[in-house]
């Protein structure tokens, strides 16, 4: 009995496989025949963003921002319609990898965009590199992708982790104090941000009186860390936490009476608009470096922010801006290739794409395949009855150095 069933299954599987192969062989000449010469049909873009787990709201923001730009352009670029196919990135490489393969191999998308987690980006780097498939990353900031692990096939419209931290060092040394306690989560992004800040802070005469690497992703109750920090007699605290970690950490910081006593500076994600409502008043006075702020004063942002707010009934955050810029980069790229999705042609035109973004002047740097943009020193203040980020100082255009020489 068992043998018979097994044999039948194998035969069926064989037939199915044979059919698929035959179908694919039959279809491929047809596809290539109507390929580059007369690009027909929509450009298919795979969108790989987290819609579940910890980063779900980041994924939502990025997709909304991107759709908003595409809709402004009638979802058209280079004479072709743009079609988005979304998949859930989840929180780990195990979840994201099969989805990326599905988009590339099954849906046969022309390019992929998205990726929030640096861990996922690192894990997928070789896949895109070896398959020569274009990935336009709209968040994950791992420095290496613009440095040692750079590949022609991965470009970023977001940031490197180095960017929002490095210019804050000298500013802090001059305006806040020379003795810092640094607390970051113990994973690649935390290390990137700590190294970038300390590099320029120490060069400006500052010193680190305490360093703390906390477990990631589960911080648990941060009270023990806060107690250590409170006893360290630093001038100020420098942190990078995001999402749930940011909220629990800042809550403990406030509950233990440090708010207003020990100034807190951070990478901007810690007090970005997505987490500010949860922080409440404890966030007031927290200063941070980032490439955008809700009340950043430029014409593009003055249109973008209210439009996004009205369209989706939610406060825009830096992730929405990154999504919006990603939409724009894709559209401008396809306009320049006149709808051609040959990967070499797309890569050719990406470097140097430049426009006025809600984050200010935006240029895709050819050397690091990552934006050149300004970093703003922001301060959380009560605006219209709620805590929001306002800009204290423009720290100028910041370009990733392309190697580890500056942290």
């Amino acid at each position: 009995m068992t043998v018979k069933t097994k044999a039948r299954l194998t035969r069926r599987q064989f037939l199915k496989a044979a059919g698929l192969t035959a179908g694919a062989t039959a279809a491929s000449p047809l596809l290539s025949a109507c390929g580059p010469a007369a690009p027909a049909g929509p450009v298919k873009i795979g969108v790989l963003l987290p819609y579940s787990a910890v980063y779900a709201e980041l994924g939502n923001s990025i997709e909304k921002g991107m759709r908003m730009y595409l809709e402004e352009k009638n979802s058209e670029a280079g004479g072709r319609k743009i079609e988005l196919i979304t998949e859930d990135e989840g929180a780990t490489p195990d979840e994201a990898t099969p989805k990326a393969k599905k988009l590339v191999e099954q849906d046969e998308v022309d390019l992929v965009t998205g990726i929030v987690s640096s861990g996922v980006l690192g894990a997928l780097r070789d896949y895109f590199d070896q398959n020569k498939k274009l990935l336009i990353c709209s968040n994950a900031g791992a420095n290496q992708l613009s440095r040692q692990a750079k590949t022609p096939y991965i470009w970023r419209t977001s940031f490197t982790n180095w960017q929002p931290n490095w210019p804050v060092g000298p500013w802090a040394a001059e305006n806040v104090g020379k003795r810092v306690f640094v607390s970051v989560p113990d994973y690649a992004a935390g290390h990137n941000m700590r190294d970038a800040f300390l590099n320029s802070f120490q060069a400006a005469g500052g010193e680190a009186v305490g360093l703390q690497l906390t477990p990631f992703p589960n911080i648990g109750d941060p009270a023990p860390y806060i107690t250590e920090i409170a006893n360290a007699e630093a001038d100020f605290l420098y942190c990078f936490y995001s999402g749930g970690q940011a909220v629990t950490f800042l809550k403990a910081y406030g509950d233990f009476g440090l708010a207003g006593q020990l100034p807190l500076l951070s990478a901007g994600f810690m007090v970005e608009e997505d987490v500010l409502p949860a922080h409440g008043d404890y966030a007031l006075g927290v200063r941070s470096g980032l490439h955008w702020a809700l009340y950043l004063d430029n014409p593009e942002n003055k249109t973008f922010s209210p439009t996004y707010q009205a369209k989706y009934d939610r406060t825009p955050d830096v992730f929405a801006v990154q999504g919006y810029d990603t939409g724009r980069v894709i559209v401008e790229m396809l306009n320049q290739t006149q709808g051609d999705t040959n990967v070499d042609k797309m890569i050719d035109v990406l470097g140097g794409i430049s426009f006025a973004s809600p984050r200010g002047p935006f240029t895709l740097d050819t050397a690091t395949q990552n934006p050149k943009h300004h970093i703003y020193l922001r301060d959380v203040q009560t605006v219209d009855g709620a805590p929001h980020n306002v800009v204290l100082a423009d720290l100028g255009e910041v370009v990733d150095p392309g190697d580890d020489s500056k942290g």
Partner: protein
């Protein structure tokens, strides 16, 4: 010295929160032999329901009562409709699958209802601010949590050791069939205990929310810690859950303070060490 006292208090706060979660998990396991993988999800649901109650009424105390009741009702329904069919010696896999499924549905329901934003829960107004004890400034809410946990431990002990219902539960842990043979409706006891266990998870979710906040993914963090506590303390005993919580809460806190990079490792090292010396946990009875 001041730092040590502060860290000791921090450790007790974590311990008491863990105890409330682990007590429910342990009671359910002890009586019904069910590993409730949805326990973390019930914790989180309790926290979110409390959040809504607080937003509606503006009072923490209402949340403290309503959220556990609502979640307990859900637990009761799950026990009566699904879990009841799966009791038995060789059905652990089915139980685990069922409760894992419940956990997925509950967490997805949470995301659909409250979204995936992080929610912070303010301390109840009466318990905000600081007090100075032993020369140390300490948040009032955290201090009262220690008291609340100890009080709850005492009440649970009274209930299990000194009441008729507690005696039935204890007898059920040893031999549920025999209890049934004595003319006691074991099914009702099981249902009540399951609801009570989920209520404890939800209660922990309410009182823990001002400390851990609420966000997707917290459910599995809580579940893992509670499982560690229950394993260390010995499956199915209240005493085990209490001392297991103290061991893990203090090890976690002092580990974080001394060696933050290795605190997670230390936690599991402690678990491994305890299990090496006492394979059934500190107070485990069911030898294997």
């Amino acid at each position: 010295m001041e730092a040590f006292i502060t860290q000791l208090l921090n450790g007790l706060v974590t311990s008491m929160l863990l105890f409330i979660v682990a007590a429910g998990l342990s009671l359910i396991f002890g009586l019904m032999d069910v590993i409730n993988l949805a326990h973390g999800a019930f914790y989180l649901l309790g926290g979110y329901v409390a959040l809504t109650v607080m937003e509606q009424s503006g009072e923490f105390w209402r949340a403290l009562i309503y959220a556990p009741l609502i979640v307990a009702l859900l637990g009761l329904i799950i026990e009566v409709v699904f879990l009841r069919r799966l009791y038995g010696r060789h059905r652990h896999l089915e139980q685990v699958l069922l409760m894992f499924g419940v956990a997925l549905i509950v967490t997805d329901f949470i995301r659909a209802t409250w979204g995936a934003f992080v929610e912070s829960v303010p301390n109840p107004e009466l318990l905000s601010g600081h007090v100075t004890i032993f020369n140390v400034q300490y948040p009032v809410y955290r201090l009262s949590l220690i008291g609340f946990g100890l009080m709850l431990a005492f009440l649970l002990w009274l209930f299990i050791e000194r009441t008729r219902l507690g005696a039935i539960v204890r007898a059920g842990v040893s031999d549920a069939q025999m209890v049934g043979g004595l003319g006691i409706d074991v099914q009702r006891v099981f249902a009540a205990m399951f609801a009570f266990g989920t209520a404890l998870a939800a209660l922990a979710g309410v009182v823990g929310a001002p400390i851990f906040s609420l966000y997707p993914g917290l459910d599995s963090e809580v579940l893992i810690l509670a499982l560690v506590v229950v394993v260390i303390g010995g499956l199915g005993t209240l005493k085990g859950a209490f001392y297991g919580s103290l061991v893990i809460g203090l090890a976690d806190t002092f580990g974080k303070a001394a060696l933050p990079e290795f605190s997670r490792f230390l936690l599991f090292a402690v678990m491994a060490a305890v299990l090496l010396i006492r394979p059934t946990g500190l107070f485990g009875q069911k030898g294997g």
